[in-house]
Point group: C2
């Protein structure tokens, strides 16, 4: 099976940015508010049939959230958000899960809305780069997930049918996009993660990456 | 000018449903949580290139939010949510704003993601139906806002160019969709309403409907 992994939150721990956003705004919830707004913007832009660079969206969302909290984000502070995004640590359960899949002979790739250079730096810095056969960015097809094009790009590159690939993500919206493109899906249901209401259940659902890898290997 | 109004939250006051969701969940924030999840689902489904009925999405989101709060929504309770949606009161500033536009000779229509029958009942029950030249639903083109098709449907029906129409909404995502389709836009910036980060400003922005109507009439 071709195992396709989302990157931010699924592999990498965004809570590492909590202190930075708390420093900017005084609110320990501001980092979550920022990422929620960035995803809301991604979904809106994509639903409206358009494309924008995810790094740009993330930066503009950071500035908007800080402004709502009365803090005008400086250019130097914006750079710190970008630096922080590129230096996120991996969740502790990720490496064992990836190893399990590779040992069982599955191919493992990453597919993210982050620009390709950002994604490569992220996986390098998190010590995960060598575990991936290839890294894909939505940027390469100028459409963001959950539009079909980013998922289909990966299938085309490996010459596989949708049913021979599984999208692994800790976000219901990413699972929904992969489902719409015909892929199998694996929802990493970390605390607070829910499937999207009214959609078919993911092919696999588990609370940790090794459990999810086990379910994929056993199937 | 052809003035196109979003319905839920823009014209009608969703806070009327707060007590119902508080009764179901014990949490006074649950109604907002519900509507946020419904819109997130709308955006995801639409970005993924698919269509689902908005009433269905709203019902499934209500059940999901109640379940997160430990309450299994019964069929009878789900009916109450639907009944409540159809019986929402208008915001107090809406009728004067619509009257101002009509008196100045502008055409006034509604465009909503709600099914057409729901939208007609909503505007009837809120005492606004006679103020609209026509009511449109995204259902009629099987694509939800902010995809271009619902906006373009309205332009086609009136035979006007995008620049001769203005989309009025209290949601940044609706403004963004109308912008992408080429329409003028008017953001009703009620408390807590923000434009989407990184997008061009709406053509008009005001805190109340009469101010927004004045800005459109004066332009």
């Amino acid at each position: 099976m071709l195992c396709v992994f989302d990157v931010n939150e699924t592999l990498l721990d965004l809570t590492a940015l909590d202190p930075l956003f708390t420093k900017f705004t005084g609110d320990p919830q501001a980092r979550q508010e920022w990422f929620t707004l960035a995803i809301h913007t991604v979904l809106t832009v994509t639903a409206a049939g358009q494309y924008r660079d995810f790094a740009q969206i993330a930066g503009e969302a950071a500035a908007a959230v800080c402004a709502r909290h009365g803090h005008e984000l400086t250019d130097a502070e914006l750079v710190k958000v970008g630096d922080g995004l590129r230096a996120l640590p991996a969740h502790a359960d990720v490496a064992p899960g990836l190893d399990r899949l590779r040992q069982a002979g599955h191919q493992v790739v990453a597919l993210t809305n982050s620009p390709l250079a950002t994604a490569e730096a992220q996986l390098q810095n998190a010590g995960l780069a060598t575990k991936f056969d290839r890294i894909f960015s939505a940027q390469q097809v100028s459409r963001l997930k959950p539009a079909p094009e980013p998922y289909l790009q990966v299938l085309r590159a490996f010459g596989v049918e949708p049913g021979q690939a599984v999208m692994v993500a800790a976000h219901g919206w990413d699972i929904a996009g992969a489902q719409a493109a015909g892929l199998r899906t694996a929802l990493l249901a970390r605390p607070g993660v829910h499937p999207l209401p009214g959609l078919p259940a993911a092919t696999y659902t588990a609370a940790t990456m090794p459990e999810l890898a086990d379910a994929i290997v056993r199937s």
